[in-house]
Amino acid sequence: MDPTQATREVFWNIQYTWLVYVLMVPTLAVFGWGFWLKIRRWRAGQPAVRFDRLGERFQLFLRNAVGQGRTIKSRYAGLFHSLVYTGFIVLFLATTVVAIHHDTPLHIMKGHFYLIFQSLIVDIFGLFVLVGAALAAVRRWVSKPAKLVYTDEASWILVSIFVMALTGFIVEGWRIAVTDDVWAAWSPVGNLFARASDPLMSDAAMQTGHVVIWWFHLLVAFGFIAWVPFSKMSHVFTAPLNIFTANLDGYGGSLKAIDFETAERFGINHLGDFTWKDLLDFDACTECGRCTDVCPANTVGKSLSPRDIILDLQALMHERGDSVLANGNGNGSGNGDAALLPIIDQKTAVSPEALFSCTTCAACMEACPVHIEQLPKIVDARRYLVMEEAEFPEGMMDMMNSLESRQHPFAGTQFSRVDWTEGLDIDVMADMDDPAEAEVLMWVGCGGALVERNRNTVRATAKLLKKAGVKFAILGREESCSGDPARRVGNEFLFEMLAKGNVETLDRYGVRKVVTSCPHCFNSFRNEYPQFGGSYEVYHHTQFLDQLVGSGKLPANGPGAQAGNGETITFHDPCYLGRHNGEYDAPRNLLAQVGGARQVEMHRSRNTSFCCGGGGGMAFVDEPPDQRVNQERAQEAVDTGADVVAVGCPFCATMLDDGVNARRGERDVKVKDVAELLWDAVGETEETGEAAS
């Protein structure tokens, strides 16, 4: 037995092998045709730049497509998917090796390579496929999680995969048994089948059975390949492509501006208005349901389901899209009526009701293993409803009315933009001889200045800045809403007006550095104002304060150093600071400065944080009492046993205040901004003459 001569006969026991090549032709033809149809559909979409920054794209591709970075975050599904995924890759390589060995002069399938890779490793990975498919079957048919879509197609895919792996081992086992293969030990799984069959079957039976099963295996495999482009198995190709062409700018910058002078329609209500990348998104969906599983609106029982929005749009594209996209050429210029096929439909997942319950928290996009962009599509549809149809919930209407006539969303507030400064002696840009003396603009935000419970937060922030000796000023009455709520609800026109106005004001004072305690303002300034010519160095107050503490300008060992009083604090990540802008550490670093306090984390925190329910204009909408996102989140915070729920956003503060009051029971649980807690810890300052509260 010379291992260097080890090999096996390709097509052992098989006659008419030419038939394999004949069958391969229609198989590959159908496969190619299916993908050609898809590519033709995508190409009819509107333009999008997604083949730039190739280096970054390749990295993302390696991490999340090849490396399955996001898929494995769900433990069970991640495990069985990895088993099947790696198994398929190795089995594909093995088939390629066979082809090269048999059909080219390169007879590579021999020796140690044959034994170690082609026999042992391939057997192990084949087993991976078998086990992976079995685990998936248990989930689909036994544990049945609600997030899955239970289609016959999905079941047949699973059965096909299992059958392909199983029949592969059967033919291998019977070949080993009949030929008494001396290298049998190198194929442990196949050998197991051989040993199990030997006492039960005669060699002749196995030889006959081998022929039958071998052809059956081939037909299933070829059928599967031909079926790939027409089923969700197409994700094997569409998902990696989707990941490669993903949005690289973060969720915070994922909404695009509209050219109001030239746009034929505002927002999207027509298949033909989507970009090719949007259409690719629809085809990349694997129906895993993770987006809907983490959606706050869906969690509390609302009709919004990001997964179903994508799948309903996919179905629309598949059923009626070809004529629309092909004839309409995507821009409505061709076969007009067909291109105007509406996507917003009361009877589907893309209903106005569902669209207007989105908090724009981006949990869906963070959860999606294949980087589908649900949020911009939801906002685009909202844009259509708001700007073309003037259709939206009443609370949003009041908010927009107030934004239009008062430049803030809080109709009926009893406070002016400067009331909170009382006794603090804070510079207002307009009253300064030289506004350039202010190194930092403290952008207060409507939520900070005009809502009573948040005035303490902005006071604390201002006092901390003063204590650290930061030369800052505010805009006072010249400040207006950043426009975030207008943009999220879909009123891009109003957002653009507010944004341009603010850029003009900031440029007039030569502002370079902006600190704000509202993550929504922070996100707009940081990611969206550059679209309107405003580029600033923007900090959330927790980031800026963290720098001040780090550089020693804010001593944390003040008189209130033990302000924590042995209390437990849990931090609620604001969506627009965390997921949208990737800042998770600064607020936690600051909380660590609150001596005598202990931090605990909620189950859903950092990038999997659960929205307070206030984003996307939802803070202004009256939710049904049994469908309140803020109460769901408040319950989670209360369940940690924390005494203090720390926040970093005026919207989170009001939403969680309400929620905690409804859910805290007899326990005393406070909601406080990180700045308030830090001020307590830093203690009194002579400059302001105010004691820590």
Partner: protein, 273 residues
């Protein structure tokens, strides 16, 4: 049919109390940081007119405002809400003409608009303004035009030959058949909440023509309007102050405190006499 809606631009009534200041010399509210908005009942009147147009079909809605140049914003917004045409009678200077003067100006403007485009079947005026709140303009205007008037109307709909009006009264809803031309003052109800304009209409509103006329164009003497028609004079204007004098009833027991409280009430009542 033609319907006319009269609008007034006022200081935002939702301005926070602390931002509201009076200029005692001018005997008027200071503009301060407050915004200028369309009086809410006037917006209800626009919405009512638009709903009438939607129900009746062939109706042209015109908006008319007597105000400073800033009032152009109110008329643009009315056009964004899809009012067909708008006319601004320019008011010079920061004056607060009373209802008699305003009625005179509006009547002259209406006559001019009717010369050009035919008679208005209905003239709609907001119930009262959010600043002075005298609620007289509608009545005065009807008198000036010599047309019948009805107050507190909440909706107009096409009727048998005329126009059916629903008006709010102390005892319930009154339904009236009115034969044009007439003047009505519009009050609010849940159905005439002013619509939010579609963005495309907002953009288009800036491209629609806006007619501007001066008092002289209408053959009116500006000085006379400013000075001569006032049926009353403002003596003084001030923000009322709430003075609270709080005293806690003392005593060690509840009974003692109740006694103390009762005694105090007697004293206060006696002092008022």
């Amino acid at each position: 049919m033609r319907v006319l809606v009269c609008l007034k631009q006022i200081l935002d009534p939702d301005v926070p109390a602390r931002d509201f200041e009076i200029d005692p010399a001018a005997k008027a509210a200071k503009r301060g940081g407050a915004n200028l908005v369309t009086n809410i009942f006037c917006e209800n009147a626009i919405e009512t007119a638009l709903q009438f147009r939607e129900a009746a079909g062939d109706v042209k809605v015109t908006a008319l405002c007597y105000g400073e140049s800033s009032a152009e914003d109110c008329l643009r917004k009315a056009m964004a809400m899809t009012v067909d045409e708008a006319c601004l009678v320019e008011r010079e200077g920061n004056t607060n003409p009373d209802a008699a003067a305003v009625g005179q100006v509006l009547a002259a403007a209406i006559s001019r608009l009717e010369q050009d485009g035919g008679p208005f079947d209905a003239v709609l005026v907001g119930r009262e303004s959010g600043d002075w709140g005298t609620g007289q303009t509608g009545g005065v205007l009807a008198e000036e035009l010599g047309r019948p008037a009805l107050g507190f109307v909440e909706s107009l709909s096409p009727g048998n030959g005329g126009i059916t009006l629903r008006r709010q009264t102390d005892v319930g809803i009154e339904v009236a058949e009115a034969e044009p031309p007439f003047v009505v003052t519009i009050t609010n109800n849940e159905d005439n909440v002013p619509r939010i304009p579609k963005t495309r209409d907002v953009m288009m509103s800036y491209r629609k023509p806006l007619q501007k006329v001066s008092l002289a164009d209408l053959g009116l003497d500006g000085d006379e309007i400013r000075n001569g028609f006032s049926s009353f004079e403002v003596e003084e204007i001030f923000v009322p102050t709430d003075e609270v004098d709080c005293e806690l009833a003392e005593g060690d027991t509840l009974d003692e405190r109740v006694d103390q409280l009762a005694r105090k009430i007697h004293e206060v009542v006696a002092s008022i006499g």
